[in-house]
């Protein structure tokens, strides 16, 4: 009994101390920060039998996003640079991933040395430059020319003096299409022929209508991707002005064009009604319930999951230019203490050879155009996509992408337009009224920034 009591007292004491420690942590923000230098050393010390020169051993923390081969590459890097080890923390939930960084940055504690930033969240952080290292100060000017210009610019401040991140992969948009279905409609099935048949949006709509009339099936799977296809070709800006960040979605002709084009597709019946990412949508891909999907390079992974459709897909170019959806950057939050080593590591991680490796193993599409002419890149025939060299098709698209400014509320406003289109599709709502409503909502939102 006595023993039990003593145990209980010890337990409670531990709890008390722990809660007090939690209390102290809130007030004293710098402790963890300074700790960043030492824990790495002490951990290494424990592993390798206490070496005291902590200046040598460097542990970089890396918050990575989604499927990458970066952990394997980091091991290679450690073999060459034995003093540098990289500790990964991987998340696949984009929103949580970026919210975690927001929290860490606003608390001035807990941010990693290297953070993988997705383009959709770029504007949020590029406005918080003082929390990041300027990669131009670390030598990024020297490698700028290697990368696709539009991709590089996505992470550059408006005045061009601040580089937030190094480009990783990109998501150039292409037209995935079902050769068996377009054949039924009497359309050319080879990529070049099909690309030519739809090389303007008007032609695309005409072909779509023809397809619908002949087969009775929708031409495109859903409203969102069709809308994205046209929207992403906006010149320079979409919903927000590059100059002052004000809302311009109501006056930008490309936004209106994308909206009207999609409405037209809905009214002519060649746009299907499945929900993006839903199980039904996956089934529709597999069963061939529609003919084309306007989607980025990384969508190939989703399409490949539809095993019954193997060999029936091919890739054509988007009408009137390309667009880009997704892709990330490697950034260095200022809290990280090893900016020099971290920069050396990330500039190695996304160099030409490694981008090729990432593409080969995980399908991350390279942002260095020199890779596109590598023999091992172009020789890759893909049986799933009827033997086409798909990397070439993506590369062609990637080189046609023009840089656009998104603005911090791009995603939110975009959803309002998508909802409007869905109302037109599902509730037979009046397109003009829905347009007005989306504009009104977007303005209400923009008022807050």
């Amino acid at each position: 009994m006595n023993r039990m009591k003593r145990m209980a007292v010890v337990l409670i004491a531990v709890l008390l101390v722990a809660s007090l420690a939690a209390c102290g942590g809130g007030g004293n923000k710098t402790t963890t920060n300074n700790g960043g230098n030492t824990p790495g050393a002490s951990e290494n010390g424990a592993n390798e039998g206490a070496t005291t020169d902590s200046g040598e051993k460097i542990e970089l923390t890396f918050w990575s996003l989604g499927t990458t081969n970066y952990e394997e590459l980091a091991k290679e890097y450690t073999e060459e640079h034995p003093n540098v080890t990289v500790k990964f923390q991987n998340t696949s939930d984009q929103t949580a991933h970026h919210n975690n960084l927001t929290t860490a940055l606003s608390a001035n504690s807990g941010a990693p040395d290297i953070f993988m930033l997705e383009i959709a969240f770029m504007e949020r952080f590029i406005n918080a430059q003082d929390k990041f290292h300027n990669l131009y100060d670390l030598g990024a000017k020297d490698i700028e020319g290697d990368y696709l210009e539009w991709k590089w610019k996505q992470a550059t401040s408006l005045d061009g003096s601040f580089q937030l991140g190094l480009p990783t992969d990109i998501g150039p948009t292409v037209v995935y299409y079902r050769t068996d279905l377009v054949e039924q409609a009497g359309l050319p099935t080879d990529p070049d022929g099909f690309s030519a048949a739809i090389d303007t949006w008007d032609k695309f709509a005409a072909v779509a209508k023809q397809f619908k009339d002949k087969t009775g099936k929708p031409f495109a799977d859903l409203t969102d991707l069709v809308y994205n296809g046209v929207r992403d070709q906006a010149a320079d800006e979409i919903y927000f002005s590059r100059a002052d960040g004000s809302f311009i979605g109501d006056t930008n002709p490309q936004v209106k064009k994308a909206y009207d084009f999609t409405v037209n597709g809905i009214q002519e019946g060649w746009i299907g009604n499945t929900l993006l990412w839903s199980p039904e949508w996956n089934k529709a891909i597999n069963d061939g319930d529609f003919a084309v999907m306007l989607a980025p390079a990384w969508m190939a992974g989703t399409i490949r999951n539809a095993q019954d459709s193997a060999g029936k897909w091919a890739i054509a170019q988007l009408p009137e230019g390309a667009g880009n959806w997704g892709g990330s950057f490697l950034t260095l939050p200022k809290e990280g203490k090893h900016s020099k080593e971290a920069y050396e590591f990330i500039s190695w991680l996304v160099n030409k050879e490694n981008q090729l490796k990432s593409f080969k193993s995980k399908g991350l599409f390279p942002s260095i155009p020199a890779v596109y002419s590598e023999p091992s890149f172009t020789e890759d025939k893909d049986d799933f996509f009827s033997g086409q060299v798909i990397s070439e098709a993506y590369a062609k698209s990637a080189e046609r992408v023009k840089p656009v400014y998104y603005g911090p509320l791009h995603d939110q406003v975009d959803t309002m337009f998508k909802d409007a289109l869905k109302n037109v599709l599902e509730k037979k709502a009046d397109p003009a009224k829905e347009w007005e409503n989306a504009i009104k909502q977007a303005k209400t939102l923009a008022e807050r920034s």
């Binding site: 809660s19 606003s106 929900l275 995603d411 959803t415 909802d419 909502q441 807050r448």
Partner: protein, 318 residues
């Protein structure tokens, strides 16, 4: 020095020593319960007051905070979406809670009845939904309520038209309320069940001898004696319903955008997207304060209504 020496005993004569036995044991007691209060003030009180403070500032969580007075409240109350979220929350609270509580009561009575042979199994069965991950639930339900999902198939076979459960004004609410109902009915049934079991059986026996029918027993014995449980369950459900979040968030935000359509936006999803999608922490805090106020108002209303229910009969138990 001499003064001090003489003064001390004088003082001690008048006052008890500081560390008396009671004080010491009190200190021990407070030390023992302090972890809760320390943790509560860090993770409970501090956030509450910080939220109120924050609701007067404009803040994106990264830059400096800027005082804007009542501007955040102005912004949200002039935003139609906020009021849509408010009415949505109320409608879904009614749709998801009222039928659910009635059903829960019947389930509880059924579980309690001597006729039920598989009491424990059915208790577990009814409680199961509550411990299932909501995200998994929402995914299953979104398949069921899809355009070509099971529910629409059922509607079609019954000769009715398909419903747009992911975009229709009522469709969305029906789907989400069903999810809530499915998830919480068993939980409330278990609470009701414990209430039913606290009613002494001899009351029923006496009623039976007096010739009361099952229906009469229900109305004059079961319901009045269950009153405290009913009040508790309604209150908890009201608060829970006002905080409805995961179901609409996962059900409608499944395109990966993390946004919720207007038909299904609730106050908490509105708050969430203000803060974590738009980066407007000030308006989000203002929304939280409003939600807090509404929760208090509705809880008080609820207490008033449900304690009137059954009139004086409730007092007899005591």
């Amino acid at each position: 020095m001499a003064d001090l020496a003489t003064a001390k005993p004088l003082q001690n004569e008048g006052k008890k020593p500081f560390w008396t036995e009671t004080r010491r044991s009190r200190l021990t007691a407070y030390t023992f319960i302090s972890p809760f209060f320390i943790l509560f003030s860090i993770f409970g009180l501090y956030p509450i007051f910080f939220t109120i403070y924050l609701s007067f500032f404009k803040w994106d969580a990264l830059g400096p905070m800027k005082f804007v007075g009542f501007r955040n409240y102005e912004l949200i109350t002039s935003d139609p979406t906020f009021w849509i979220s408010f009415s949505n929350t109320l409608i879904m609270a009614l749709m998801g809670t009222v039928p659910q509580l009635i059903m829960a009561l019947f389930v509880a009575i059924m579980l309690n009845s001597a006729l039920n042979k598989f009491k424990n199994t059915s208790r577990i069965l009814f409680f199961m939904p509550n411990i299932t991950s909501i995200v998994a639930v929402a995914l299953v339900f979104s398949t069921m309520f899809g355009n070509n999902g099971m529910i629409n198939w059922l509607l079609n076979t019954m000769g009715m038209e398909s419903m747009a459960f992911n975009s229709g004004w009522w469709g969305v609410k029906i789907a989400i309320s069903t999810m809530v109902m499915w998830r919480w009915m068993g939980y409330n049934a278990i609470i009701f069940l414990s209430g039913l079991q606290s009613i002494p059986t001899d009351i029923y026996e006496a009623a039976k001898i007096d010739g009361a029918s099952r229906g009469q027993q229900m109305i004059y014995i079961t319901l009045p004696l269950l009153r405290p449980f009913i009040i508790f369950v309604t209150l908890i459900s009201t608060i829970g319903a006002l905080q409805l979040f995961t179901e609409p968030y996962v059900f409608l935000g499944q395109s990966g955008t993390g946004s919720t359509r207007q038909e299904g936006v609730t106050m908490v999803t509105y708050l969430y997207s203000e803060a974590f999608r738009n980066g407007f922490f000030g308006t989000a805090a203002a929304t939280a304060v409003m939600l807090f106020a509404f929760t208090i108002i509705f809880s008080v209303l609820n207490m008033m209504i449900s304690s009137r229910m059954g009139g004086d009969t409730g007092g007899k138990k005591a």
